[in-house]
Amino acid sequence: MKGKILLVVVAMILLSGLKNSRELNEIEIVPAIGIDISDDDKYIISAQVTNIEKKMDSSGSDSSSGSSSDIVVFESKSNSIQEALRSFVNESPQRMYLAHMQLLLISEKAAKKDMIETLDFFLRDNETSNNYILAVTKDTTPQEILTKTSPLLKSPAESMVQSIKATYKYRGTSIDNILSKNLSMLLSDKKELVATSIYLQDSSKEKIPDIDDNKILDNSEEDSSSKETDSSNSSDSSLSSEGKKTNIKIGALSYFKDNKFGGFMSEDDSLIYNVLNNNVKAAIVRSGENSDKIVVELLNSKTDLKPKVVDDKLTLDINVEMKFNVTETGKNVKFKTDEDINKYQDIIAKEVEKNIYKYIDNCKNVYNTDLVGYKEIFFKKLNKEYKKHEEEFNKDLFKTIDTNVKVKATFPNEGSANKNE
């Protein structure tokens, strides 16, 4: 027995054992990577590295010297991502270790390139994990976000991921698709890629954010690209002025058209995107204002998409069943009888319906992208019709498809406060 064991150990050493080993103090853990494109069309890669030395100091003794930060950001410019990443070895004593990458930030400019090309390195490299969240930076560069630290956020990448997940889970306006899920969207030509967005909010300048301010963000191409160049130019200055109070915020979804960055949706549209994809965990819906307001929390949502042909015209029926919890009501809202309940159920259903119609309208006219996924739905459920119209689908056929939306809202609980009356 012992002899056999010895034989196996020797064989393992001679064959491939030990080759792949690396000690923990030989690697730099990279939780986040940012990709930007420079003016001369080269990749600017910034890698956020956890500063182990600093953490060791602060955990070892009470005196934490404020000189060094919890993170270190390396930047480099190259024609390829791999070269840029490898060149960090010149600065850092250890090799970048990408298996714990959690966040991949892409600037709008870089996102306008073909995403498959950009992500190719991350898909091919066997060490890189597939579990990172893709996010597009809005009005800023990845470098700027990655270098942001605050006393509260010891590891910025981690907390960014946490807030993306929380936004998705409790408001439904974000998406926490990890790359392995995104990949199917990337590779299929029937569904468009969406990703979450991250922006910097200058809290010293701005007032308290108004979440009801629900305008679609300006994303005309010339404008954003000019902003992009601005911010990339001024990134150095913003780095030096650390005293400026800026917060990293999770924005609404960004959408891609043909794997190229298209723009940002509004928060309401982001929520509807998740509702239509049966992908919403929780959300808040409000109808009316002040004393007429009724606020409900989404408990459960089920969306059924039925494509059909009516009078030779392609139509899509969207049936949504939603369950809500009433969480906040105005003075005038009373739940006394079943009729009352029905009335408010209808009001909420109408509100959601309105939002869905608005979303579809936006898709067709503002975003110019098939974000409802008509192409995929018809391909999957009505393949014959899809084949007939395949050519047209590849052009903008979705704009002409009629959509009927029907929302059914129920309140299993209307809140106990009224019951006591």
Partner: protein
């Protein structure tokens, strides 16, 4: 032995003993004259209780003298005897004697009835000591009795041995190696008959058989094979009995000497014989149909056959409410796994498969690893070795310096090594967890087997990471599964699988009132209890 039968006088026997033992000083010789006949008393001083000798042996001899005198007076032969003894030297008289009955009769006639003093025969009947034997020199070994604490009473060529053992053993005390919270707290000791008694007093049945053998050419150690005749399988008893008969060694100093002779899978790392110092455990196992071997001078009684579960489970489970024992059992199985794999798992994860560690944890591992010059494998090895030295030292050290050891050990291993940057704190946690989990297994051979496998696992994972660990797991399973304890599979009831037993013993402990059947693997007599 060879020459013993040729002795003619007691003096010759005494000389023989002196010559054989090289006039050993611990053997005492005493002459007592009984009616002018000389009786020798020979005993080994350290082994015997001199009070018993003076109170019972010598007093009994003196009583005989009185009785004989009375007889003589009655027979009116006093004068003649006195005359004879005055002018004759005693040896002469003895020399003329012969052993055979016919010649004795002759002597009676010739020597004026002097010869009626068959002191030994009278003594055998009248001595107030329970264990007495008249030795037949052709069969019995005088020295065995002499060195077992018997007193030899020699008159002419007759030898009578009377048991005058002194108690050389400590009294019954609490078990030293197997702790007990609620169960009985007596433990076996070095005294053979006490050990038998501790078992007997728990099973007062004629079915509890004691089959005694004497093993060891020089040590002449008593080895008792105990079993319950209508539960234990006869073929098992016969198998063990034959194995015991085959043992030919000069001395048996401990029960492990026996277990190494009779063990079936000698190459197995895991022990296939259970040794315990708890009499209740021995009875528990015997009632299942197992066989116990009690060895003289060893406070550990052997039980066989055993399964791997017996080392993990504890008899204590049967002394507490059964419903909540399941969790305890799960903890023990977990400890079994933890004690083997933790160092290996840590090394594999941190040097080969970092992507399997959650990000935050990896960062804190990396923080602790910073500044430690050794690779994780070496680190783990250093720690295992120092912990083992500490453990071995703890076993051997006299309790007076035990506290010094623990202070030095805790300080050096716990704090100083970390501060000096030799090991990372997490490595101390890992090794400590592994060692503490190993302490759940009280059987020393088991603990040693677990340590061996801990190191094998560590080597494998140090060479090839998680893949290496999988290979090591494979080896471990092969090793355990190929072990058999006295023709019984070691892994029972998991393989061969017996779902009923698994439910009753492995996962849960079935209520004693409802568990009416014995295991089929060990006995044919299945009914344990009847539910009315």
């Amino acid at each position: 032995m060879e020459k013993l039968e040729n002795f003619n006088t007691s003096k010759e026997i005494i000389d023989y003993i002196k010559e054989k033992t090289n006039n050993s000083k611990d053997i005492s010789y005493r002459e007592i004259s009984v009616n002018n006949e000389i009786v020798y008393i020979v005993f080994n001083e350290p082994l015997t209780d001199t009070k018993i000798i003076s109170n019972y042996v010598i007093r009994s001899i003196k009583k005989i003298e009185k009785r004989l005198k009375k007889c003589e007076e009655e027979n009116d032969i006093n004068d003649k005897i006195e005359k004879k003894l005055e002018d004759n030297s005693l040896p002469k008289v003895i020399k003329k004697r012969k052993l055979s009955e016919s010649s004795l009769e002759n002597n009676i006639n010739r020597n004026n009835k002097l010869n009626i003093y068959h002191i030994i025969d009278v003594l055998e009947n009248s001595i107030s000591i329970s264990k007495v034997k008249k030795l037949d020199l052709k069969e019995d070994n005088l020295f065995y009795y002499l060195f077992s604490g018997f007193t030899c009473i020699i008159h002419n060529t007759d030898i009578l041995v009377a048991e005058t053992k002194s108690k050389l053993d400590r009294g019954v005390s609490e078990p030293k190696t197997e702790g007990s919270i609620k169960g009985p707290k007596d433990a076996f000791l070095e005294n053979y008959s006490d050990n038998i008694g501790l078992i007997r007093k728990r099973i007062k049945s004629e079915d509890l058989i004691l089959d005694e053998k004497i093993i060891g050419r020089r040590s002449k150690t008593k080895v008792g094979l105990m079993y319950i005749s209508d539960i234990a399988r006869p073929e098992l008893v016969e198998y063990v009995s034959k194995k015991l008969d085959k043992i030919d060694i000069d001395a048996i100093l401990d029960s492990n000497y026996i277990s190494e002779f009779i063990e079936q899978s000698t190459k197995a790392d895991f022990p296939t014989i259970f040794s315990t110092e708890r009499p209740d455990l021995v009875c528990f196992y015997m009632l299942q149909g197992r066989v116990a071997i009690v060895v003289e001078n060893s406070p550990f009684v052997l039980v066989l056959p055993v399964f791997i579960g017996d080392f993990i489970n504890n008899i204590e489970d049967y002394y507490q409410k059964n419903n909540n024992v399941t969790f305890t059992k799960i903890i023990r199985y977990l400890a079994f796994i933890i004690t083997i794999i933790t160092p290996a798992l840590y090394v594999a994860l941190t040097t080969f498969d970092q992507e399997s560690i959650p990000n935050d944890l990896l960062v804190s591992f990396a923080i602790q690893k910073k500044g430690v010059p050794f690779v994780a494998f070496i680190e783990a090895f250093l720690m295992i070795i120092s912990f083992e030295i500490l453990r071995e030292g703890d076993y051997r050290v006299p309790s007076a310096s035990g506290s010094t050891l623990s202070i030095v050990g805790a300080l050096i291993l716990g704090d100083a090594a970390v501060n000096a940057g030799i090991v990372s704190p997490i490595m101390i946690i890992v090794i400590a967890l592994s060692t503490i989990s190993g302490l759940l297994f009280t059987e020393l051979s088991m603990a040693n087997a677990l340590r061996t496998w801990r190191i094998i696992f560590l080597i494998f994972s140090g060479v090839a990471g998680l893949i290496g660990m999988c290979v090591a797991i494979l080896f471990l399973i092969v090793n355990i599964a190929s072990t058999s304890s006295f023709t019984k599979p070691f892994t029972y009831p998991i393989a061969p699988m017996n779902l009923d037993r698994i439910e009753k013993e492995v996962i849960k402990r079935k209520s004693i009132a409802k568990d009416t059947k014995r295991s089929k693997m060990l006995t044919d007599n299945l009914t344990k209890a009847n539910i009315k």
